[in-house]
Assembly symmetry: C2
Homo-oligomer: 522 residues x 2
Amino acid sequence: MTNKLYDTSLSLLTDLYQVTMAYGYWKAGMTDDRQPSSDSTRSGAAEKEAVFNLYFRKNPFSGGFTVSGGLTNVIGYINNFGFSRKDLRYLRSLTGSDGQPLFEEGFLTYLANLKLSCDIDAIPEGTVVFPNEPLLRVRGPILQCQLLETPLLNLVNFESLITTKAARLRLVAGTDTLLEFGLRRAQGADGGMTASRAAYIGGFDATSNVLAGKLYDIPVRGTHAHSWVMSFDTEQEAFDTYAEMMPNNVTLLVDTYDTLEGVKHAIQTGHKLRQKGYALSGIRLDSGDLAYLSIEARKLLDAAGFTDTAIVASNDLDEIIINSLKQQGAKITVWGVGTKLVTAYDQPALGGVYKLAAVRQANHADPDSDPAENHTAVRWDYKMKLSEQAIKISTPGIQQVRRFRDERGFLADMIFDEERSADDLNEATTTMIDPLDFTKRRRFEADQPFEDLLVPVFRGGEQVYDCPDIHATRARVQEQLAGLHPGVKRFVNPHTYPVGLEKSLHELKTELILKLREGGRE
Amino acid sequence: MTNKLYDTSLSLLTDLYQVTMAYGYWKAGMTDDRQPSSDSTRSGAAEKEAVFNLYFRKNPFSGGFTVSGGLTNVIGYINNFGFSRKDLRYLRSLTGSDGQPLFEEGFLTYLANLKLSCDIDAIPEGTVVFPNEPLLRVRGPILQCQLLETPLLNLVNFESLITTKAARLRLVAGTDTLLEFGLRRAQGADGGMTASRAAYIGGFDATSNVLAGKLYDIPVRGTHAHSWVMSFDTEQEAFDTYAEMMPNNVTLLVDTYDTLEGVKHAIQTGHKLRQKGYALSGIRLDSGDLAYLSIEARKLLDAAGFTDTAIVASNDLDEIIINSLKQQGAKITVWGVGTKLVTAYDQPALGGVYKLAAVRQANHADPDSDPAENHTAVRWDYKMKLSEQAIKISTPGIQQVRRFRDERGFLADMIFDEERSADDLNEATTTMIDPLDFTKRRRFEADQPFEDLLVPVFRGGEQVYDCPDIHATRARVQEQLAGLHPGVKRFVNPHTYPVGLEKSLHELKTELILKLREGGRE
């Protein structure tokens, strides 16, 4: 299922520099000659094939894990990729510093006929992931990889962020009910839609967002607003009318005027509902001291025989506040979370990046030969971005992530290069090296159970992955969290889950750093 | 111009409780009988007409002002309002706690035929506004007002937030160039689109987001990424190739390997460009100590005769960092701002609310009589939400905002009730009272120049407002900021711009609070 808001071509939803770089590659003759109508006037330089990895450097919210999101929307985006005539007309109108067109007509023709032919591998949505692991790996003509950078980052960054936030809230809520109420404060219409979807996947039970319910098959829930109460002469009349109109859906908001008086009015309405064979489902608190008020409200409800009536709470909640309320013995079993969830208030962006990891001349000499053979015919030129800070140095390679586990859960993740590491992975023992301290090593025997996390999603631009539905992805998140040691899941100073580089990839990286630092790039 | 991503009906983009409340009003017979195909089985209660005000309680970013945004998208939303057959099919599928349908068929028929007939008044986009001022005022059948709450809040909250952030950045940037680079970290596709638009209105010069450029007529700008440099054997080859391919658009990113070495390579490319009659437009720094590096880069460029080559900087910039860099004498004249702007990182949500302020039985006794007369025929029942915190108590009334000014700028804003305050506004002196301290008063003489900020946008559901284009709105922001005292615009402990209630509205509010606190609602 795709995010239906994106079921249109959004190929210009990218940074201009992706288009100018694409133009540069095209004009320098480094594009895929096999595209239909490619321009014959270009110079004879060979097409460049590239590999980019999309990853982040730090778990959000000072936490110990991240939950991957966005893949469903990435697939929708790629399947709808293509430049419309209007898109090209707009690009034609752009000019450079001399007032001349920025792009030659031949390039626009090239874009008009462009069909994506990339291979994309990805970690399935709803997987726990860690810094430096490639969530997506894109391999193909460098021009295509580049055009995709911005939209892939946009989609993966935001959905992973909200899925992670929701998973954290599920960890503190235990078996309580979690409702997402954030649409009014979300960052735009689609900010709200995407957040509703990601919240459900991360472990929420329902949303107030009706359109998200409709488009994504998420349960919807809702009560009423203060304005309902205010629009009647008395709170009692407001409650009674609501219950009379919708007896099978009665959760009453009790804090419009005075919360505990409101609870008493709700109880009166509850008695009337009972006489008609219905139940008072819940009351909702939206202000004040939620610990105190919920305890007092529970006493009133229980004393009146409404032991099954749930207490719902909302009002700028997040995982820290819910945790604190539970420690204070608050009698709340349904939590409505809005702003702090849908905007990821304490860290509203995940800093995912998309880095070039290898490049080579494409080899299409014999179109009838086995493509797999072609792939290995030309050696990769491994690439990395240097930085003064070790954490900002990218890792080269056609990366895959191997997750080792035992019967209790996940042990460690090892990033390896699909070509360079192949021989070492066949040895009796595999060595994994900490990327920030090469003296920290772990060894895994050949019989250690593992799973390789990235799976093929596109091959030659065609989708080869059967995307699980939203409910399966939601279940996956909880299975994944169960595989994590509790120390990794705690909020304060979480244990760092071990992620390292396979030894031969580590050696490749070290070699490249030394070469670049010694001026090998001059 | 509308935000084209919304040019489809998004009528279910609302909270479920808006729909259940609408159902409650319909079922209780409090809906507009004049709608086509209204259901005849409903009880005989009279239709309720309501007034809601949309406002926020606190300026974002600990600042002294806010810039209003979102009205263009609100207009697009309302003009496209309407429930599709698929929407109704979805609502029909919802069930209550007893497994029975949540909504009767007659209500769905009512929604299918519903045409908005509200009056909406709003403060034009790009106006400086302050806490408690109604940015939008919606008046009409309470069912309709309620359905609109969530989408109006979503659109106004987010766009006002980003417009305000951009305006703050413009204040520190002075005459420097500001570029918005945030798409990859924005909260979803539309989060990026809306932010690009709001950033331009708030004072940015251009965006990297090509689709925003196309749809909103915003200038687009871009350079190249580290990956361009990395995909060549040497940085010099990468720069030379870029300049050769696009000589009229050359800004080179110099920090892929070693920043100052990168500047020297850019200078070499600049010499080659000159020989061909082109110029090196700029170099870009994206990491490291931007103050130090820009000063050193400037020296190198100037020594080589490239005094016109601009230094562009990016890397997690915001108004505080730019201010600091300028104080350190950084030689940067073009600022690329991304994540911190488009997510409003330090406060990612504006807490706008939508509160019922008055209600009355609608009077449609004589459809041939003058509607203006009908409007005054039945007295309003003024409404407010109580709270223990004075700042959270809403203000009743059919509110309008009068902004007094003199030749130097804005003096104060006074909120008044269009009906209650009418007589007092005709007196020789008008009194305005501080809502948090009734002993603080200001008096304005009848000849004091003023402007009433809310303008009619919809009448009877029909648009009556000619929405200015994006460039006019952008110009308005700067005119508005010029009207503010510098103390209100400073970032640290800004002066509080005076906003008060007109005396008779203050008295109405006080009277209502006392009545509610004394249990008048029981």
